[in-house]
């Protein structure tokens, strides 16, 4: 009850000195708003990057082996990679104790697909049947091909949603015969949409066919563009990577002084680097915002200290009607905390607006991460206490006898 009345008095006192109150709030508003915006954007960017990464890779318990020492640019195709990674390499990798299973892939990006006068040129991937589970892809419609279909070189295809909308805008695709580089294939399934990759491009503009069918009937090549190896223990990805490197160097008879003729991507390690970079940036930005907050706190402290000499009489009156020193401290702290909290809340509101605007400018989805806002409010409370305590103490030391003299 008494506390409620003291809070009310603090609020009234702030309302009576509107300009001073607004000035006191300003620093905290700016600090909290920038802190909220910066951390929120940092967090949203990080999540977005991780999401796109995940879209591309599917799972984080795999490593990817590509031919050519990683020197080729862009997505590997059968035309721009050296013929160094073979089906036998894939089998050997699958036999390593660290590896649970492998998926093979052949890919091409320049093949025309036709269906009843409509054409598309998606990525064509010849893949093994465990592709679906290794990529954690899901079927939207129909079925994936089987190992039998793979070994019998069946001409069956699973299409991505972009291909579906390009070739079958208002038609059921299952069962339809499409032509991949003039070879007829039957559509047996449609993949669920994966969204955008790390570069922003669509991951749904794709056709999957059995890797052996691709090798014999379409590409006429017996080397691979990628082997995806699933790990038994995802936390040991570096060790598994080293084992695969050693195995392939031995199989390819590479001298100790020579470079690898293949490249390995370890998504877990890459992911770690990416998130580390973005969290370092986020920390720097948060540091800047915290500086702004500190300045806001110092503004509160200075204005309160100045106000005390104006309010000596008021303090004297409180004391004469029964306020103890502790209650004066409490009352001034309440004012500081109220100002800081109000500034914090205003900052959060501005911050929410700022995130929307920034998201639009950065072309990111406006992800509102609640945690920075919650900690911003908490932080403004702490600012109020920390920077209010000294002025409050000063106020409690005002001598009521002198203050009450005219």
């Amino acid at each position: 009850m008494k506390t409620f009345q003291l809070v009310r008095q603090a609020a009234l006192s702030l309302a009576r000195h509107r300009l001073r109150t607004v000035l006191m709030m300003l620093g905290v508003v700016v600090g909290i708003a920038s802190l909220a915006i910066l951390t929120s954007i940092g967090e949203a960017t990080k999540r977005e990057t991780m999401q796109r990464f995940k879209n591309m890779i599917g799972t984080f318990d795999t490593i990817m082996v590509r031919p050519g020492g990683g020197r080729s640019r862009g997505m590997p195709t059968l035309l721009n990679v050296p013929p160094t990674l073979r089906f036998e390499d894939s089998k050997a990798i699958a036999e390593l104790p660290e590896i649970k299973s492998v998926a093979e892939m052949q890919s091409a990006f320049d093949i025309d697909i036709k269906y009843r006068g409509k054409a598309a040129s998606p990525a064509v991937f010849g893949v093994s049947v465990n592709w679906l589970s290794l990529r954690s892809d899901e079927m939207a419609d129909g079925v994936f091909f089987t190992e039998d279909q793979n070994t019998s070189l069946a001409r069956v295809a699973v299409i991505g949603t972009d291909v579906r909308s390009a070739l079958f805008p208002d038609e059921e695709p299952l069962g339809a015969m499409i032509r991949i580089a003039e070879v007829p294939f039957q559509v047996i399934g449609v993949l669920q949409s994966r969204g955008a990759g790390p570069a922003g491009g669509s991951l749904d503009n794709v056709i999957l066919i059995p890797v052996k069918t691709a090798s014999r009937r379409l590409f006429n090549r017996d080397y691979l563009t990628m082997v995806i190896a699933q790990l038994k223990d995802p936390t040991q990805s570096n060790q598994a990577t080293n084992r695969v490197v050693a195995l392939l160097r031995e199989r390819h008879h590479i001298q100790p002084s020579a470079l690898d003729d293949f490249a390995i991507t370890n998504p877990a390690a890459t992911m770690e680097r990416v998130t580390q970079t973005s969290s370092t940036l986020a920390k720097i930005l948060a540091g800047v915002a915290i500086m702004a907050l500190l300045i806001g706190g110092i503004v509160i402290m200075s204005l309160m200290l100045i106000a005390i000499s104006d309010r000596r009489r008021e303090i004297g009156i409180w004391r004469s009607v029964g306020a103890s020193r502790g209650e004066v401290v409490f009352q001034f702290l309440l004012e500081a905390v109220t100002v800081a909290l109000a500034g914090g809340l205003a900052g959060v509101l501005i911050g929410i607006g700022g995130v929307q605007i920034a998201a639009r400018i950065q072309k990111l989805p406006p992800v509102l991460v609640w945690r920075p806002f919650a900690s911003a409010v908490l932080l403004s409370f702490v600012i109020g206490i920390v920077f209010g305590i000294y002025p409050a103490w000063k106020a409690s030391r005002v001598d009521p006898i002198q203050a009450l003299r005219s």
């Binding site: 009576r16 004469s320 209650e327 006898i401």
Partner: protein, 236 residues
């Protein structure tokens, strides 16, 4: 009501020496008395008022107020005494600025238990004849009205002692007379009042006069107030 025994107050001086503001003062005040404390400036009357009002502590001696020896009380205990047992009326009125008369009267209730009884505050304003100006800010009131609000504030927690420090010092004759009449009425209601003044007309309302000189009591005279009260009209 009040027993003051050998109260002494010593201040340190800049040059390392000390100054005795009060030199071993002893006196009693009974319930219902109206005491005027008089003396030249520097006689120690303000120091005495501050000690009696629990705004200051004596260097030595004992001060019993309403049965409690408050001389050694802590800041928190003294604050409780000021809140519950003492009502202050200052020369400079000391109302909170930018605050209504009603809210000013309510402030002591905030520090008592936080239960703000608006009806009681209005009744106190009515008692001092200002019910109609409850919603006015202090700055919109005349000096006499401000002092009446201060008196209503002093009364709100039903104190055992009202301390007035030159209550008419900042008022013109007529307003001063109104305030003194109000204090007189409170005295007639049985309130204990102590007023510090060097004004003969204010002292004329008191039932006893305590004269201080250089920190000591010079005289303490009980005067039949009935005889002296008309003296107020004698001043030009």
């Amino acid at each position: 009501m009040i027993q003051v025994v050998n109260i002494r107050k010593t201040y340190a001086r800049g040059n390392g020496g000390t100054v005795d503001a009060l030199k071993s003062i002893t006196f009693d005040i009974s319930p219902g008395e109206f005491v005027a404390v008089r003396g030249a400036s520097g006689s120690g009357k303000s120091t005495l008022l501050n000690i009696l009002g629990c705004l200051d502590r004596p260097t030595s001696g004992s001060y019993r107020l309403d049965g409690e020896d408050v001389a050694g009380y802590s800041d928190k205990q003294l604050s409780r005494i000021r809140n519950g047992k003492i009502g202050f009326v200052f020369q400079a009125f000391n109302l909170l600025p930018r605050t209504t008369a009603l809210e000013n009267v309510e402030v002591p209730m905030v520090y008592r238990d936080g239960h703000v009884d608006r009806k009681r505050a209005l009744a106190a304003l009515e008692r001092v004849g200002l019910a109609g100006r409850a919603r006015h800010h202090a700055s919109e009131l005349s000096g006499g009205e401000q002092q009446r609000v201060a008196i209503a504030r002093a009364l709100i927690n039903n104190p055992v002692l009202i301390l007035a420090d030159e209550p008419t010092g900042n008022l013109d004759f007529k307003a001063g007379q109104g305030v003194m009449t109000l204090l007189q009425e409170l005295h007639d209601d049985g309130r204990t009042i102590l007023a510090v003044t060097h004004d003969d007309d204010v002292a004329a309302y008191a039932s006893r006069e305590l004269r201080l000189q250089e920190g000591s009591i010079l005289s303490s005279e009980t005067v039949p107030t009935v005889l002296l009260r008309p003296a107020m009209g004698g001043k030009p």
